[in-house]
Structure formats: structure tokens, C-alpha cells
């Protein structure tokens, strides 16, 4: 069978990440009071992206996985971005 080592993340680290996630959730709400115009969605997505990265890295243990798995997960996000981008080749030029 393929080799696989288990890594146990300390509770303290998980607690810190949880607090950071709460902070970003609070930030997502608070930032809506600032008028950013066209950037509103971008900023919301950026914050959500950071939160997703933290959840993947620590809660889903990706930080301790092999490079191959990290690349595979990254490729999923690249795929998503490309699909959105290609769809907009239609909408932007219609």
C-alpha cells in the first residue's frame, strides 16, 4: 500500500485558526458598510478565499499532505477560475 503518515494538529493551532476565521467572518459583515463600488464582490471573494485556504490547510490537513495532493487541490481552483473566465468570453463579447 502507498505510504501515508498521520499528522495530529495541536488543539492550540486549531483554536487560533478558529479565531482567525471568526475575525474574517466579522470583517465580511463590517466591510459591507464601506462603499467599495465594483470592488465589493472582489473583496468579499478575497476574504472568502483566505478563509477557504485556512480551512483546507489546517482543518482538512492539506498543509501536511504530499506536494501531489496540494497540486491536485490547487488545480481544482484553477479549473473553476478557467471555467468562469471562459464563460465570460461569451458574456463579455455578446
Amino acid at each position: 500500500m502507498s505510504e501515508h503518515t498521520h499528522h495530529i494538529t495541536p488543539y492550540k493551532t486549531l483554536g487560533i485558526i478558529l479565531v482567525v476565521l471568526f475575525f474574517f467572518t466579522f470583517l465580511t459583515i463590517e466591510i459591507t458598510s464601506i462603499h467599495l463600488g465594483a470592488l465589493t464582490v472582489t473583496v468579499a471573494l478575497l476574504i472568502a478565499g483566505v478563509k477557504g485556504f485556512l480551512v483546507l490547510s489546517y482543518f482538512m490537513h492539506l498543509k501536511h499532505e504530499s506536494l501531489l495532493l496540494k497540486i491536485l487541490v490547487a488545480m481544482v481552483f484553477v479549473l473553476f477560475a478557467l471555467i468562469v473566465l471562459i464563460t465570460f468570453i461569451d458574456y463579455a463579447f455578446r
Binding site: 500500500m1 502507498s2 479549473l79 464563460t87 458574456y91 463579447f93
Partner: protein
């Protein structure tokens, strides 16, 4: 009970549950593979009967045996059953479940209970899909593509049918996830990715599509249901929506879904050809990487279904370009299969015969796909029976014939018995003749302007519709020859040896039928999987 074997085969094993419960509560990947086989065979039979009913209706212009609305329902349910319940789960769920662990030297898939759950989900979704045909509102009449805005307005059972497709999607996602983890985590010691057999490679590529593309159609169908129930306006321009958005979202899944069907089919063919030529596969790495390339590029070609939808000109040429690019890795596989046959010791048995037919039919389906991939001819033949013919040459001629090839190839391993080899060859030949008579005339009248999904037509197309009906009947005769021979073989056939075809991959190293946990000890892999020295 097989007294000649000293081990307990998966067929004879009696666990916590007995009889039929010993099957539907089993977590054994081999039993689940057979459960999928029986369920899918039943669905295929229902779908095929609906298909033949359509051909009978089209035998003469005007009404023949049903009204136009009934015809709309029949072609929709035929499509939903065949796509979501037969060809998408088909090869992965049956042969993937049965042979993936055996071929990589594992005792089971990574998540056996999840595997059992996926079969239950398939059955639940299938019951919903078939029920949609019989509800008071009448069968859905949108076609299997459920295009908005019509699907948001028709009074037929669209919600039940789309819910069925949504539920079936979960089975596909979970199977894909299970196979990816199995391949990453449970390969036998010494088996690197590049000495893994090529059927698991194909399953691996297809599984990624299942995992990543299926949620898109799931969400799309939920959007459609919400649109119908609450009038939100996703696809309604009056409310700021866009009907073409539905087509984008639908095809973002449904074009890669073609590769969910065809990649494992290519994997089967890649196993059959070296075995029946007794020759190492030509271009192992090229075939393995081409599977990933098809999966990757296949994600970005969905727009070629939408050239006439009103999509932007820039998007049309972009999707056309990518469509031509995706043909390259498919062609790489075909060239490598043919190169493997060159100077091989060819044994013309049914699995190989089906594989040859697959290549022939897939080339016709593939090259007509290039005609459809180019914008100008696509506009000419869009929504004609040319598309129907192309689609069936790929899906039925490709996936279907590969399924028959795999079934005849692995049948001795699955049941521990042989079928009649001569009858199997005759079954293959009859199916091949019936298939071409059924679908080839549709290319010609499609080019001449016969629309698809029309229940009436101009008298000038009747000659082709008649030939297609004759082809459909011959196809059915072929099915009965093939299925009768296999059923008889499973019950009364000669006892199969462990390796009747002299194959080299790991599934042929275990007895037929395999023991419950496949291998007494983990196999150690030291050579490549196609070593025929």
C-alpha cells in the same frame, strides 16, 4: 456451490446476511459491481424498448402508434434513462467497482460502505426517473437536456425528472471520490502510477470529471427547480436572467460527462487489445497521459453544443478551436491501439471483435464530431438527426461496444464460467450490422435536413427511417443472442480457468471467480503490467 475450488469465492461467501440481503447489504466491491450490472442492464432494456418504440413511430410520416406529446415524453425518458442511469454509471460502476481493486492489488475500494451507499442512491434516483414517466402531469417533454426557458414553463413532470438526475449525480460524485482515493492510497507495494494498468488510469481521469463536473449540473437542476417553484428569474430575461446561462451550466457538466462515459471505455479497449494480440501495449505513457489530457481539455469545450444559441462570435471560435484540440489525445489512443495490433498474435475472440468494432464506430463518431465542432457545418446540421447519429456512434458505438467487450473479456473472471465463444462472435456481428443499419442512415437524412426530436417528417426521409427500424430490430436480435449466451454461460458454462486469455494484469493472477478479499497477500509489483515476454 463450486466444489472444485478450495477457497470461498465472493459468489459463495455467506456473511452476516443471507440471500438477496447478502447482496444489497454487501460492501464487497465485486458484489456491488454485479449489482450495478444487473440494475444497469435492466435500465438499458427499458431505455432500449423506448428507443425501439420511437423507431416504430417514425416508420411512417405522421402518427403511427402514438401522439406527438407521447413521443416527446418517450424521447425524453429514453434520454434520461440512457444517459443518467446507463452510460454515465455504466463502465465505471460495473467494471470499475469489480476490477479496479483487483487490478491495483487492493482488497477493496477505499470506502466500501460509501460504495454500497452509491448503489442505493442509484436505485433511489432511478425509481424517481422512471416514476416521472407515469405521474399525473405526464412524462417530461423537454428532452434530456431540460433546456430553459421551455423547461421552466411546461406543465409536465420536469421537477421529478430533474430531482432524479440530481440524486443520481450523488452516486456519480461519490463513486468518483472513492476511486480517486483508492488509486492514491491502495495501490499494491511497488505499483507506481506509471506501472499501473491503463484501465485504472482511465478510471482515474474519469473520476476527476465525476467529482468536479457533476456538482455543476446538480446546482443547475436545483436552479431550474427553484425557477419553476418560485419564479426567481435565473433564466428569465424579464427578471434579469439569461436562458443561455442554463445552456452554459448544463454543458459545463454534460460535455465532460461524455468523457465520463468514453474514458473508461477506452480503458477497457486498452486492456483487451494487448491481451488478444499478446503484445505489450504500444505507447503506454502516451495512452496514460492522453486520458488525463482528454479529461482536462474536455472541461473547456462545452460551448460547441451552443453555436446556434446566440452565444458571442468570439466564444464560438474559441470553443471550436478547443474542440479540435481535444481530438488529438483521442487520436493518440487510436493510433496506439492499432500499433499494438501490428505484428501481434491476434486471437479473434468476442472481446477483441467488440474492440475492433469499437475502434471502427468510434472513428466514425469522432470524425463526425469534428464536423460538428467546426462552426459553419455545425450551423447547417445543428438539431438534425446528423447529431443523433454522431452521438449514438460515440455513446453506443463507443461506450456500448466497449462495455460488451469488457463484459466478454472479464466474464470468466466474474462468474468463473465460460460462455459459448462462437455464439458470442455471432452476437457481436449481428449487433454491429444492426447498429450501422440503425444509425448510419440518420447521418444522411440529417445532412439533408431531417430535424431531431420531430415525430413527423417529409416523405423523402422515409427510406432512411425504414432502414433504421430494420436496424433496430436486428440490434434487438443481437442483444438476445448476446444476453442469452452470457446467461447460459453463467449458469451452465464450462468452468473457467484463472487466466483464460493469457492476460498479464493482476486480476488474472487470482482464481475465477475471485476470493472474497481478492489476494491472500499483498502482491508485490516488480514489472510493467503488460509484460508478454
Amino acid at each position: 456451490m463450486r466444489k472444485e475450488t478450495k477457497y470461498v469465492s465472493y459468489l459463495d461467501y455467506e456473511g452476516q446476511y443471507k440471500g438477496i440481503f447478502g447482496w444489497i447489504f454487501s460492501t464487497d466491491h465485486k458484489r456491488l459491481g454485479l449489482l450495478y450490472l444487473y440494475a444497469i442492464a435492466l435500465f438499458f432494456f427499458v431505455g432500449a424498448i423506448l428507443g425501439l418504440t420511437m423507431r416504430v413511430e417514425l416508420a411512417t410520416p405522421g402518427e403511427t402508434i402514438m401522439k406527438a406529446q407521447a413521443y416527446n415524453g418517450v424521447f425524453t425518458v429514453h434520454g434520461v434513462i440512457m444517459i443518467f442511469m446507463v452510460v454515465i454509471p455504466g463502465l465505471s460502476a460495473v467494471f470499475g467497482n469489480f476490477f479496479l481493486p483487483l487490478m491495483i492489488g487492493a482488497k477493496d475500494v477505499a470506502f466500501p460502505k460509501l460504495n454500497r451507499l452509491t448503489w442505493w442512491i442509484l436505485i433511489a434516483g432511478s425509481i424517481l426517473a422512471i416514476a416521472s414517466q407515469f405521474l399525473r402531469e405526464g412524462p417530461p417533454d423537454t428532452g434530456w437536456t431540460f433546456y430553459a426557458p421551455y423547461s421552466t414553463k411546461t406543465g409536465t413532470s420536469v421537477i421529478i425528472a430533474t430531482t432524479a438526475a440530481f440524486v443520481l449525480g450523488f452516486a456519480s460524485i461519490l463513486t468518483g471520490l472513492n476511486f480517486i482515493v483508492t488509486i492514491h492510497r491502495l495501490r499494491a507495494p511497488g505499483m507506481k502510477f506509471f506501472n499501473m494498468p491503463l484501465f485504472p488510469w482511465a478510471l482515474y481521469a474519469a473520476s476527476w470529471i465525476q467529482l468536479l463536473a457533476t456538482p455543476v449540473v446538480g446546482i443547475t437542476l436545483v436552479m431550474l427547480i427553484f425557477e419553476r417553484l418560485f419564479g426567481i428569474g435565473f433564466f428569465n430575461p424579464d427578471l434579469g436572467g439569461d436562458p443561455i446561462l442554463f445552456q452554459h451550466l448544463f454543458w459545463i457538466y454534460s460535455h465532460p460527462a461524455v468523457y465520463i462515459m468514453i474514458l473508461p471505455a477506452m480503458g477497457v479497449i486498452t486492456e483487451v487489445i494487448p491481451t488478444f494480440c499478446q503484445r505489450r501495449i504500444y505507447g503506454y505513457k502516451a495512452i496514460a497521459i492522453s486520458s488525463l489530457a482528454i479529461a482536462a481539455v474536455g472541461f473547456f469545450v462545452w460551448g460547441h453544443h451552443m453555436y446556434t444559441s446566440g452565444m458571442s462570435e468570439q466564444a464560438r471560435w474559441f470553443f471550436s478551436l478547443l474542440t479540435f484540440i481535444v481530438a488529438v489525445p483521442s487520436a493518440i489512443k487510436v493510433f496506439n491501439w492499432i500499433a499494438t495490433m501490428y505484428r501481434g498474435s491476434i486471437n479473434l475472440q468476442a472481446p477483441f471483435l467488440y474492440a475492433l468494432f469499437f475502434i471502427f464506430l468510434f472513428i466514425i463518431g469522432g470524425t463526425t464530431g469534428l464536423i460538428l465542432g467546426a462552426v459553419a457545418p455545425n450551423v447547417q446540421v445543428h438539431d438534425t438527426s446528423f447529431v443523433v447519429a454522431h452521438f449514438h456512434y460515440i455513446i453506443f458505438g463507443g461506450m456500448g461496444f466497449a462495455f460488451f467487450s469488457g463484459l466478454h473479456y472479464w466474464f470468466p473472471k466474474m462468474y468463473g464460467r465460460m460462455y459459448n465463444l462462437k455464439a458470442a462472435n455471432w452476437g457481436a456481428i449481428i449487433l454491429f450490422i444492426g447498429f450501422n443499419l440503425l444509425y448510419f442512415p440518420q447521418f444522411i437524412i440529417g445532412y439533408q435536413g431531417m430535424p431531431r426530436r420531430y415525430y413527423d417528417y417529409l416523405p423523402q426521409f422515409q427510406w432512411a427511417q425504414t432502414i433504421s427500424l430494420i436496424g433496430g430490430i436486428i440490434l434487438f436480435i443481437g442483444f438476445f443472442v448476446m444476453v442469452g449466451n452470457l446467461v447460459r454461460g453463467a449458469k451452465k458454462g464450462a468452468i473457467a480457468p484463472a487466466n483464460p486469455w493469457n492476460g498479464t494484469t493482476l486480476e488474472w493472477t487470482v482464481p475465477s471467480p475471485p476470493p472474497v478479499e481478492n489476494f491472500d497477500e499483498d502482491p508485490i509489483i516488480k514489472s510493467d503490467p503488460y509484460d508478454y515476454k
